[in-house]
């Protein structure tokens, strides 16, 4: 038991990912421990989304290993990863635009037994009361902020052990960004481990326990989120001061 506790929930070891001939990820290693919020920050095109998509099983690493809950999972395929307890809230939300809010949430629970759906939905509505009000609305007609909430709620419906969020604050007004980060903290407090990719480094570092900084396919810095927030290089490059 105590042995198992020391194992990280997610362990990525030296993965290389290619898009055809493009070498997008050039040997990345990272770990996420149960209960943590870990953030991955970096400039546009650094390879953050590629990293998350690879962990989620949408892309296959050409080299290197990924272990989830102690089991090797590289090349498992995204649809099976959900059943193992990993959920990705993808970049650009990618909610099902033509389905209702409720249907979107139901599909989030696709990997779970049907009897659970109602209860999970109640829990999601506690995090996002707005979604309950709009239950019957077609998702494509929601506002950007509501769509982000729906994407997060949908990811939560599979009751993941690890939830990965790819730029949840993208395109949202500052007040909404605050709200989204508040919810991330709440979800974590309720027991979900979180791996967060963000452009908004300030917010991400303030909410996270640990952080990794990525540049052009490599990790260039890692450490305690507070330390990185006060690091001169990070401040210059990502915090604009």
């Amino acid at each position: 038991m105590s042995e198992e506790k020391k194992l990280p929930l997610l362990k990525v070891r030296d993965i290389h990912v290619y898009y055809g001939a493009i070498h997008a990820i050039k040997g990345i290693s990272l770990e996420v421990n149960e209960g943590e919020i870990v953030t991955l920050i970096g400039a546009n095109g650094a390879g953050k989304s590629t990293t998350l998509n690879t962990i989620a099983g949408l892309l296959k690493p050409r080299q290197g290993g990924i272990a989830f809950a102690g089991m090797p999972v590289e090349g498992t395929g995204a649809s099976k990863m959900v059943y193992k307890g990993l959920s990705l809230c993808p970049e650009g939300r990618r909610i099902f635009q033509q389905m209702t809010v409720r249907e979107n949430l139901e599909m989030g629970a696709f990997s779970r037994p049907n009897e659970e759906t109602e209860k999970s939905m109640e829990q999601v509505y506690e995090f996002f009361p707005r979604l309950k009000e709009r239950e019957k609305q077609i998702a494509g007609t929601l506002s950007g902020g509501e769509q982000q909430m729906l994407a997060m709620g949908r990811a939560l419906m599979s009751k993941p052990r690890l939830m990965m969020l790819d730029e949840p604050s993208m395109g949202l007004a500052p007040i909404l960004v605050e709200q989204i980060f508040e919810i991330i903290r709440d979800m974590n407090a309720a027991g979900t481990t979180i791996l967060l990719v963000e452009q908004n480094a300030q917010m991400a570092l303030s909410v996270a326990n640990r952080a990794y900084v990525m540049e052009t396919g490599r990790i260039t810095m890692e450490g305690d989120a507070d330390d990185l927030m006060h690091d001169d290089n990070v401040r210059k490059a990502y915090l604009g001061s």
Binding site: L58, G77, S79, P90, F96, M99, F110
Partner: protein
């Protein structure tokens, strides 16, 4: 009365187009490909039912079920062997494969059943005519229209209520996001082909019950018309396929009856072109909106 007769005939022919169009539109919506071999699956289904009725002497209901089961397996096999390996290929490569598959099925039928047209046994379905006032509706016509309604209602319920039906809509909208939900995309596409092909078998039997000449090319023209119907109604849309199929059948019969027998098909396509000029996504097709 003659007008009503034409209308009933149009509805009946249109129902057959609609059932075929459903296969086209579901496969297009979910697998994002035009399965041009779909019309030939209809022909194979009709041959299987023909063999059951003519050679093996099995009851009509069993013959139809046999054709449905056979076509389901055929559709799933075609998808698995011919189309699945091309999932990442260009749509042109997939299209050419589908056309090749269409000819392959026709040639196989030619090998097994020969080029001479078979006359499809219709007595089983044409038992008696139904009279409503002066209207005389053949039971084949009636069964066709009823079958169409039943299929339409069932499919609509399936895609709006059943878990797997909703999964199909997810795959249709965003394959990657569907996978992230835990939906097995390959299996969902197989299911789509299974449903479409089973419907093709039904359509084959209904078609040959009304137009009882069966040969290896029997599926081609109805296939193309049904594809047109699917585009007409808005490709990817289930109610669109229904509406498109029925309108196409009615327009075709009226065109032939009141304008010109020879130009019947041309009239159908002229109407299609006009509709697409006004509504490029088809009658019920939704132009995709994206919100960022």
């Amino acid at each position: 009365m003659i007008f009503l007769d034409h209308l009933i005939n149009g509805l009946s022919l249109g129902s057959i187009y609609a059932i075929i169009a459903l296969g086209y539109t579901m496969v297009y919506g979910i697998a994002k490909m035009l399965n041009f071999a779909h019309g030939d699956v209809i022909m194979i289904g009709a041959y299987i039912a023909f063999c059951g009725l003519q050679y093996w002497g099995i009851p009509p209901v069993l013959a139809i079920l046999l054709a449905m089961v056979f076509c389901t397996l055929l559709g799933v096999t075609i998808e698995g062997f011919a189309y699945r390996p091309l999932r990442q290929a260009t749509s042109l490569a997939v299209l050419i494969t589908a056309i090749g598959m269409s000819y392959l099925l026709q040639n196989i039928a030619l090998m097994i059943w020969g080029a001479n047209p078979k006359s499809f046994p219709t007595t089983f379905i044409n038992g008696s005519n139904i009279r409503i006032g002066q209207l005389n509706i053949s039971s084949a016509t009636l069964i066709t229209i009823v079958a169409n309604i039943v299929i339409m209602v069932t499919l609509t319920l399936f895609t709006s209520k059943a878990k797997l039906g909703k999964a199909m809509r997810c795959v249709s909208e965003d394959r990657g996001a569907a996978e992230l939900m835990g939906i097995n995309v390959n299996r969902t596409i197989s299911l789509t082909f299974a449903i479409g092909s089973a419907l093709a078998a039904v359509a084959g039997v209904l078609l040959c019950s009304s137009y009882p000449i069966l040969q290896p090319t029997t599926g081609s023209m109805p296939g193309i018309k049904a594809f047109t119907a699917a585009v007409f109604g808005g490709i990817g849309s289930i109610p669109g396929a229904m509406l498109g199929g029925i309108l196409l059948g009615v327009i075709e019969i009226f065109g032939k009856a009141y304008i010109s027998t020879e130009l019947g098909d041309a009239i159908v396509f002229a109407v299609l072109i006009i509709v697409l000029l006004v509504k490029p996504a088809g009658l019920l097709g939704k132009p995709m909106r994206e919100k960022v």
